[in-house]
C-alpha cells in the first residue's frame, strides 16, 4: 500500500531502529492517528529533510558530549538515523561525504577549541574543502564570563558556511547552564526541518507545536552567595606548599554532584589597583561604562576587569590605542602603563573598553552532598606561586582565596562535569590524584562512604613530603580503616634521594591494577595536566601492554576503548 519511496524510508527506519525505538514509534504512530492529517505529513517531511545525520562533538569536561548524546537520541526518536562521534575519533576524510552534520563544541583556553577538536578545527580552517552539499548546524558551549564567549563554536560555524555548506539553523552560543538551551535548539532544528518540507497550510500548526516545545532558555548562570565557613592550610610548617581547604556555606541548597567543579571570579588586589590608579591619575570615584553598565572606577577595577597577565590580543589593542610598537606578549596592565605610557593623556573610558573581564577559575569540589549536606561546599586550593624577574608572585584567584578570611562573603557557580562522575555503586574505581588532584576524590570517597557503596576504591596520592604534605591524611586514614578505601598507595617525591611519583607506585602494582581494570574498574585521573596526567597515562599504557603483552599501540587502543565506554576519566588542568 505504501508508495515505493515511503516503503523504503519506512523499512530503513524500522530496521535501523532499536527495540526501545520500535516501542516508542508504535506509541507515536498510534498517537498520530488521533491527530489531524497536517501533522501526518510531518513524518515523511522529517525523514527526507534530515535522513541520516552525524552528530560530532568536541569536549573537555564532557558537557558537549552530553549534549551531543541528547541530540542524537532526540533525532532517533524522530525517526532520523544518526551517528555520534567524538571529534578526535572522527575521520576527517568523511567530512566531504556527510550530508547532515551537527557540531557540538565547547571553547577552552582563551577562545580555543577543546584539545579533542583541535584536529578538526585546524583541518577545516587550513583546507579549502567543497562542502556545498552539506547541511549543518553548530551548538556552541561556553561561559559568558570569558571574553571570547563560545569563540571556537562560532569559528566553526563561520568556516563551514565559507566552505559552501548550508546552515540549517543559526549557531547557538550557550552558557554554563546549557541543558534548556540545548533542548530548545534541537526542537527548533527538528521542527524547522519539517517546516522546510511543509506547505504553508500546516506551517502555523507546526509553529504552534514548536513554540510549545521551546522553553525559553534562561540567560546567564546560577550564581550562589556564600560565606567562608572554614579555612585551613593543609600543609604543615616547613612545607614548600600552601594548600587551602576552604568550606563555603550557603543559605540556599547548592545543587552539585561529586566530580563537578566550582567557578570563582577573583577580585583584584587593592595594591595592584592603587598602582594603576596612580598611573592613570584616577581617584576611584570616577564613573565608567563597562559592558553597558556604569560602575565606580574602584569597583570596576577591583571586581570586573582583568589586570594581571593580559592576553597578547589585549596588549595589542592598547598598542594601537597609544600608537606604539609593543611586542605581542602577555603583560600586567600596571607594567604596560608604566613601560608604554600614552603620550597624550589616555582616555580611561576607551582603555576600559579594550580590557577583558576577570575570567573565572575552576576548582574541583572536594565535598559531597551526601556527606556534607547541600548547604556546604568544599574546595582544595593550591596557592599558585611563580616568579617574574626574581619577584615572588601569586596567581590571581588562588591568591584571592588564600587570603580570604573566615566569615567573608564569596560568590561562586557550579561547573558541571558530566565526564567525571562516579559509576554505579557496585563498580570499582581507581583514583589517581596527586596534589590538589585529591579534591574530587575526597568528594568521591565521602559520597561512597555516606551511601555505603559496595564498589572497591583504590587511591593513589602523591606530594613532596609525607610529614608536611599528606593532604587530608587523617580523613583518608579513616576511610582506609573503615574499609571505604580498599587500597591506598602514596608517593612522596622528596623523602628519598630518587624521586618517586604516583606512576611509579602504579607500576609496582601493575598486575593488580590491571586485574581491577579487567574486572571493570573505572579509572579517574585528577590534578595537573602536565607532566602528571601525561606521565600517568603513559604508565597506564605501559602497564596494559605489559600485562596483555602486546605493543603500546594496541595498549593505547585498549585505553581509548575504555574512554569510549566511559570507564576512563580525566579532570586535569
Amino acid at each position: 500500500m505504501l508508495a515505493e519511496f515511503k516503503l523504503k524510508t519506512f523499512r530503513s527506519l524500522v530496521y535501523s531502529a532499536t527495540k526501545e525505538e520500535l516501542i516508542w514509534m508504535n506509541g507515536f504512530l498510534s498517537g498520530l492517528l488521533q491527530e489531524e492529517k497536517t501533522i501526518l505529513s510531518r513524518v515523511n517531511g522529517q525523514s527526507s529533510a534530515l535522513s541520516g545525520c552525524t552528530v560530532v562533538y568536541g569536549t573537555e569536561t564532557g558537557n558537549s558530549k552530553k549534549v551531543a548524546v541528547d541530540f542524537s537520541n532526540r533525532l532517533k526518536k524522530q525517526g532520523i538515523q544518526s551517528k555520534i562521534k567524538s571529534l578526535d575519533q572522527y575521520r576527517l576524510a568523511d567530512l566531504s561525504k556527510e550530508s547532515n552534520l551537527l557540531v557540538v563544541m565547547s571553547t577552552q583556553g582563551d577562545g580555543e577549541p577543546p584539545a579533542a577538536a583541535k584536529k578538526f578545527y585546524d583541518y577545516i580552517h587550513q583546507n579549502e574543502i567543497a562542502l556545498n552539499h552539506l547541511k549543518y548546524g553548530v551548538f556552541a558551549l561556553g561561559d559568558s564570563a570569558y571574553p571570547l564567549f563560545c569563540k571556537a563554536g562560532e569559528d566553526v560555524d563561520n568556516r563551514l558556511s565559507q566552505l559552501g555548506a548550508q546552515r540549517i539553523i543559526p549557531v547557538r552560543k550557550s552558557d554554563v547552564d546549557f541543558e534548556d538551551d540545548a533542548s530548545a535548539w534541537i526542537d527548533e532544528l527538528v521542527n524547522n526541518a519539517i517546516n522546510s518540507e511543509e506547505n504553508n497550510v500546516s506551517a502555523n500548526a507546526v509553529a504552534v507545536k514548536v513554540s510549545e516545545n521551546v522553553k525559553p532558555a534562561k540567560p546567564g548562570k546560577k550564581i550562589y552567595e556564600g560565606i567562608i565557613a572554614a579555612k585551613i592550610n593543609l600543609n604543615d610548617r616547613c612545607s614548600n606548599k600552601e594548600t587551602w581547604h576552604i568550606e563555603i556555606a550557603a543559605e540556599e541548597a547548592i545543587s552539585y554532584q561529586p566530580g563537578d567543579a566550582i567557578g570563582i571570579v577573583a577580585k583584584n588586589n587593592q595594591a595592584t589597583v592603587n598602582k594603576i590608579f596612580e598611573l592613570l591619575q584616577l581617584t576611584g570615584d570616577e564613573e565608567l561604562l563597562y559592558k553597558n553598565e556604569t560602575y565606580k572606577a574602584s569597583k570596576l577595577f577591583i571586581e570586573k576587569i582583568a589586570l594581571q597577565y593580559l592576553p597578547a590580543r589585549v596588549v595589542q589593542l592598547y598598542a594601537k590605542m597609544v600608537e606604539k610598537e609593543i611586542p605581542s606578549i602577555r603583560m600586567d596592565l600596571a607594567e604596560l602603563l608604566r613601560i608604554y605610557p600614552a603620550d597624550v593623556k589616555l582616555d580611561v573610558q576607551q582603555l576600559v573598553h579594550v580590557l577583558t573581564p576577570v575570567i573565572p577559575r575552576l576548582y574541583s569540589v572536594s565535598s559531597s552532598p551526601a556527606a556534607h549536606g547541600e548547604n556546604e561546599i568544599h574546595l582544595t586550593v593550591a596557592r599558585d606561586t611563580f616568579s617574574v624577574d626574581g619577584h615572588l608572585r601569586y596567581g590571581l584567584c588562588s591568591d584571592y582565596l588564600s587570603v580570604l578570611k573566615e566569615g567573608m562573603p564569596i560568590q561562586f557557580y557550579i561547573q558541571k562535569n558530566s565526564a567525571f562522575k562516579l559509576p554505579a555503586a557496585h563498580n570499582d574505581i581507581i583514583m589517581i590524584g596527586p596534589g590538589t588532584g585529591i579534591a574530587p576524590f575526597r568528594s568521591f570517597l565521602s559520597e561512597r562512604d555516606a551511601q555505603s557503596a559496595t564498589g572497591r576504591n583504590w587511591l593513589f596520592f602523591g606530594e613532596q613530603h609525607f610529614v608536611s604534605d599528606f593532604l587530608y591524611q587523617t580523613e583518608i586514614q579513616s576511610f582506609f580503616e573503615t574499609g571505604t578505601l580498599t587500597k591506598l598507595n602514596t608517593a612522596f617525591s622528596r623523602d628519598q634521594d630518587e624521586k618517586v611519583y604516583v606512576q611509579h607506585r602504579m607500576q609496582q602494582h601493575a598486575e593488580e591494577l590491571f586485574e581491577w581494570i579487567e574486572n571493570g574498574a573505572n579509572i579517574f585521573i585528577s590534578g595537573t595536566k602536565d607532566p602528571m596526567s601525561v606521565d600517568v597515562e603513559q604508565i597506564l599504557i605501559k602497564i596494559i601492554a605489559g600485562q596483555k603483552n602486546t605493543d603500546e599501540q594496541s595498549a593505547a587502543a585498549y585505553l581509548s576503548a575504555l574512554k569510549e565506554s566511559g570507564r576512563y576519566h580525566k579532570d586535569v588542568y
Binding site: 600543609n235 604543615d236 609525607f466 587530608y472 591524611q473 587523617t474 586514614q477
Partner: protein
C-alpha cells in the same frame, strides 16, 4: 589475676618479629601497628610523637607527628673516634640533630621518621653498634663507673659490662631480619633458655660501681655489682639486688627502693649469678600488674631470705659475706685527669646530656674535630656527661686548644657546682609519659636557685638537684638531695634528703609546688642551712639531721 596484655604480645610475637615488616610498609601512616609499638622497644626503639604539635596538626587534618627514638646498646658507654664520626653523621642525616646522653651511659637519638629507621640502623651496624634490648622487658644497657683513672684493673672491670650484656642478650635474630633484611635462617636455633617466649616481667637493669665512685647509682638498679679490689687485683663483686625508683602517683603499692646487699661473689661467678637472678625474676615476677613487676617488688614479696635461698639453689653455691667497699660520691670529676698509664681524660659538662652546637658552646663540632684526629675515644657518664678519653701526653695541648676554640672548657669551668651536679630527664616534647617539663625547664630553675645560693653565701655549694617530668624517676630524683618530680604541667613534688654517696633515698617534702612556691621553700631552707649547717655538712644530711624530712 590475668596476665597483662604485654605478656600476650610477647608470646605471640614470633621472637619479637610481630608484624613489624608490615608496619614498615604501611603507606598511610608514620606510625606502626599497636602491638608492634610494644615489640619495637625490644629492638631499642620507642614510637613517639611531637607533643608540642598535636593540636596544630590535628587542625590541619594531619596525623600526629610520629617519629622514633633510638637508644643504643652501649655497655659501659664507650665509643671509638671512628664510631663517633659515624654517630655524628647519622645524627645529622636522620634525627633531630641532638645527641642525647642518657642517665644510663648511652645515647638516644630522637625524631627518626619511620622511613629512616632502616637506613639509620644499618648505618650503625656498619660500625658494629646495635640497639638490641636497649629497651623492653630484658636486660638493659649495663652501666659501669666511667672514671677510668681509678685503678689499673679498670679495664678488666669495664670488660664485665660487655660480657654481661652479651650473656643476657635475647637469642632471636629478629633485629637483624627486620632492620637489616637478613635472611631468616632455619638452621639458627633461637631457643632462648633465659627469656623463653615470655621474656622478663619487666625491664631489668645492671650497674657496676668501682669504689669510691657511685656515679652509676648502683643501688637503684635491679642488680648491682660493686667491684672489690684487693692488692690491686679484682677479686670479685659485692652483689646487690632489688633496686628501682619508678613509682606511680596515687598508687601506694609502688615505691622507690634501694637494692639489698646480698653478699660477695668471685669474679668467675659473675655471669652465672646475674643470669640466675634474672631467671628468679622471670619465674617469680608479677606478670599481671606491670606497675608491680620489677624485681624490687618480687624480692619484697618473697622476702630477701627466700629470694637469696632460691638464688643460691640456682647458682649452686652460697654467696659469701659482703666485703668492705666504700662508695663516697656520685658526681663526675670535671676537667683534666690522668690515669695510671699516664693517659689524659677531660670530662665535659653537658647540660641535660644534650650534645649540640648552640650560640656559645659548640659541643658537636668540638667532638667531631677531636674524633677526626683519631687520637681519642669517648666515654659517657651516668650523669649525662661525656669524657674525652685516652689522650696521649703529647696530644693534650692540641686537644685543649680544640676544647677552648669551641668554648667547651669555659663552659665546663664556669658552670656552677650546683648546675654541674644537677640532672633532668627528657620529658617534653617527646616523652609520652611526661606530666611536666624536665630538661627544657631545669636549667632556668637552676639559674634562679643560683641567685638564692648567692644570697645566702652558699655560691660554691654543690647540691645534687634532679628533676623528672613524672614519677618514673628517669633522672633518679628520689635519690637526690633535692628532687623535683612532676605532677602536672608547671607543678612538682619536692623530695629532700638523699646523701652524696647515693646510699639513702630522699623523702617527700612538699607536694604540687609551682615555681614561685619552689623558690620560696628553697629560700627558707637555704637560709636555715646557711645558718645551722655543721662544717662541710651536705644539704641532704642537714635536712635529715634537722628532721626537716
Amino acid at each position: 589475676m590475668s596476665e597483662s596484655p604485654v605478656e600476650r604480645i610477647k608470646k605471640a610475637s614470633d621472637g619479637l618479629r610481630g608484624t613489624l615488616n608490615e608496619s614498615l610498609l604501611d603507606e598511610h601512616t608514620g606510625a606502626i601497628r599497636e602491638d608492634d609499638q610494644t615489640l619495637i622497644k625490644f629492638h631499642g626503639m620507642y614510637m613517639q610523637d611531637d607533643r608540642d604539635r598535636r593540636e596544630e596538626r590535628a587542625e590541619k587534618k594531619l596525623e600526629r607527628l610520629y617519629s622514633f627514638m633510638l637508644r643504643l646498646r652501649l655497655p659501659g658507654g664507650f665509643l671509638t673516634a671512628k664510631q663517633w664520626i659515624a654517630l655524628h653523621n647519622i645524627t645529622g642525616e636522620h634525627t633531630t640533630g641532638v645527641i642525647k646522653i642518657t642517665s644510663r651511659q648511652t645515647v638516644q637519638l630522637h625524631g627518626i621518621l619511620k622511613s629512616h629507621l632502616k637506613p639509620t640502623i644499618s648505618a650503625f651496624n656498619k660500625i658494629s653498634l646495635d640497639s638490641i634490648a636497649a629497651c623492653g622487658d630484658v636486660n638493659r644497657n649495663v652501666t659501669v663507673t666511667a672514671h677510668s683513672k681509678v685503678s689499673p684493673v679498670y679495664e678488666e672491670i669495664f670488660s664485665y659490662a660487655d660480657k654481661i650484656s652479651a650473656h643476657l642478650l635475647p637469642k632471636t635474630r629478629a633485629w637483624y631480619e627486620v632492620w637489616l633484611d637478613e635472611e631468616k635462617l632455619a638452621e639458627i636455633n633461637e631457643e632462648d633458655p633465659l627469656y623463653e617466649d615470655r621474656y622478663l616481667p619487666r625491664k631489668f637493669k645492671i650497674a657496676i660501681a668501682v669504689p669510691p665512685y657511685n656515679d652509676v647509682d648502683v643501688f637503684t638498679n635491679d642488680v648491682g655489682l660493686i667491684a672489690i679490689i684487693e692488692k690491686d687485683k679484682l677479686t670479685g663483686f659485692n652483689v646487690t639486688a632489688g633496686g628501682g625508683l619508678g613509682t606511680t602517683h596515687g598508687n601506694a603499692e609502688t615505691y622507690p627502693r634501694l637494692a639489698t646487699l646480698l653478699g660477695f661473689i668471685n669474679k668467675d661467678n659473675v655471669l652465672k649469678t646475674v643470669y640466675e637472678i634474672a631467671t628468679v625474676q622471670r619465674d617469680y615476677g608479677n606478670r599481671s600488674d606491670r606497675k608491680l613487676s620489677r624485681l624490687k617488688y618480687t624480692i619484697d614479696r618473697l622476702g630477701v631470705d627466700a629470694f637469696k635461698t632460691e638464688l643460691e639453689k640456682r647458682i649452686g653455691f652460697k654467696l659469701q659475706p659482703p666485703k668492705h667497699a666504700e662508695l663516697i660520691h656520685r658526681n663526675d670529676e670535671y676537667g683534666w685527669h690522668k690515669n695510671h698509664e699516664g693517659k689524659w681524660y677531660y670530662t665535659v659538662f653537658v647540660e641535660s646530656g644534650r650534645i649540640l652546637d648552640d650560640e656559645n658552646v659548640h659541643l658537636k663540632s668540638a667532638f667531631l674535630e677531636i674524633a677526626k684526629t683519631g687520637k681519642a675515644s669517648f666515654r659517657f657518664t651516668c650523669n649525662q656527661n661525656i669524657i674525652v678519653a685516652d689522650i696521649a701526653e703529647e696530644d693534650k695541648k692540641p686537644f685543649e686548644n680544640i676544647l677552648n676554640k669551641y668554648g667547651i672548657i669555659a663552659h665546663t669551668e664556669n658552670a656552677s657546682a650546683l648546675r654541674k651536679q644537677s640532672m633532668a630527664c627528657v620529658a617534653f616534647n617527646t616523652c609520652p609519659l611526661a606530666l611536666a617539663e624536665g630538661q627544657r625547664y631545669l636549667p632556668q630553675l637552676i639559674t634562679k636557685i643560683e641567685t638564692l645560693l648567692e644570697k645566702h653565701q652558699l655560691k660554691d655549694e654543690g647540691i645534687i638537684i634532679r628533676m623528672t617530668g613524672c614519677p618514673n624517676g628517669c633522672a633518679r630524683p628520689f635519690i637526690a638531695e633535692i628532687g623535683f618530680v612532676g605532677t602536672a604541667y608547671g607543678r612538682y613534688n619536692m623530695h629532700l634528703g638523699a646523701n652524696a654517696a647515693g646510699t639513702r633515698l630522699s623523702k617527700l617534702y612538699k607536694e604540687n609546688l609551682n615555681e614561685e612556691e619552689i623558690l620560696d621553700e628553697l629560700n627558707s631552707l637555704l637560709k636555715l642551712y646557711a645558718a645551722k649547717r655543721t662544717a662541710k655538712e651536705a644539704f641532704g644530711d642537714f635536712v635529715v639531721r634537722e628532721k626537716i624530712v
